[in-house]
């Protein structure tokens, strides 16, 4: 974790996810493996266009493709998504520290206004 390689890979995952069609493809694959033809079906897109999206997802490591002749079914690989999850978790200690400071600050602020009122 936290190496330059991971960072690059995470950028790639986010770039791959930043597209409605590709997310829909992943949503479909979460239900099970499918061929390119099956994946293309719900979209009004040409096979080359779908293939392009699949290639992006494959390069990001989000899908793996079988080796069975021309069908080469696609399957979801969730590992990069776990890294995305880890990414969000990185913010946790940052926010926790902030909230500890907010807590202190609120106490100070309220102690001050109490003091003013009783004076």
């Amino acid at each position: 974790m936290g190496t330059a390689v991971d960072e690059d890979r995470l950028s790639e995952t986010f770039a791959a996810l930043a597209n409605t069609t590709r997310r829909a493809i992943l949503g479909r694959l979460a239900r099970g493996a499918a061929t390119v033809n099956e994946l293309a079906e719900p979209f009004e897109l040409t096979l080359p266009a779908i293939s392009k999206h699949i290639k992006v997802l494959e390069e990001a490591g989000l899908i793996v493709r079988g080796r069975q002749a021309q069908y080469r079914p696609c399957a979801l690989d969730a590992a990069p998504l776990r890294e995305v999850s880890n990414w969000a978790e990185r913010y946790r200690p940052v926010w926790e520290a902030r909230f500890a400071r907010m807590d202190d600050y609120l106490r100070q602020l309220q102690a001050q206004s109490k003091e003013k009122r009783t004076r």
């Binding site: 330059a4 991971d6 960072e7 690059d8 995470l10 950028s11 986010f14 996810l17 930043a18 597209n19 409605t20 997310r23 829909a24 992943l26 949503g27 979460a30 239900r31 979801l76 969730a78 590992a79 998504l81 776990r82 995305v84 999850s85 990414w87 969000a88 978790e89 913010y91 946790r92 940052v94 926010w95 926790e96 520290a97 902030r98 909230f99 400071r101 907010m102 807590d103 202190d104 600050y105 609120l106 106490r107 602020l109 309220q110």
Partner: protein, 160 residues
């Protein structure tokens, strides 16, 4: 994904503050208050500008003492939802001083922060959600649902 309702790209934190909701709301929306708590330890917030209305912009500068001298980081965003004083949703992107987006490695270009406040007998329960891919971003419809499905899949492969 230790918290409930977490999607694979989000983080949820809950905390109760011994202060009224209105005051906690001001912590987020009034620059002088915001500056007092937001910066990480060893950092200061020289600039915090909030146009607190839907579509209004926000701009934050964080100053960090680094071995190479003072380093300034800029963040810009937009307010997506405002329900005074209980809900605040905004986007955040890293930018240069002039507001041009810079894309840090390993991070999505834009993230979304959601703050929800609730009165709890004079105290304030705050729920913070930090999302890697904003719900309001283009084509985000269906994304949450897709992520939920994926979350199940991810969980399954984690426990494998």
């Amino acid at each position: 994904m230790t918290d409930s309702n977490g999607t694979p790209d989000s983080m949820v934190l809950e905390r109760t503050f011994d202060a009224p909701v209105e005051l906690v709301w001001q912590m987020w929306t009034e620059p002088e208050h915001f500056k007092a708590w937001y910066g990480p330890d060893g950092a200061s917030i020289p600039v915090a500008e909030f146009d607190v209305r839907v579509g209004g912009t926000r701009r934050v500068c964080m100053e960090v003492d680094s071995p190479n001298g003072l380093m300034r980081m800029w963040f810009a965003g937009e307010h997506l939802e405002i329900d005074l004083p209980v809900q605040l949703v905004y986007t955040e992107s890293m930018t240069d001083e002039d507001g041009n987006p810079v894309s840090p490695d390993g991070h999505p270009a834009t993230t979304e922060v959601r703050v929800e406040l609730e009165d709890a007998a004079g105290k304030t329960r705050m729920r913070l959600t930090h999302v890697g891919i904003p719900a309001g971003s283009p084509g985000a419809a269906g994304w949450t649902m897709a992520l939920d499905k994926l979350a199940v899949h991810v969980q399954a492969s984690v426990s494998r």
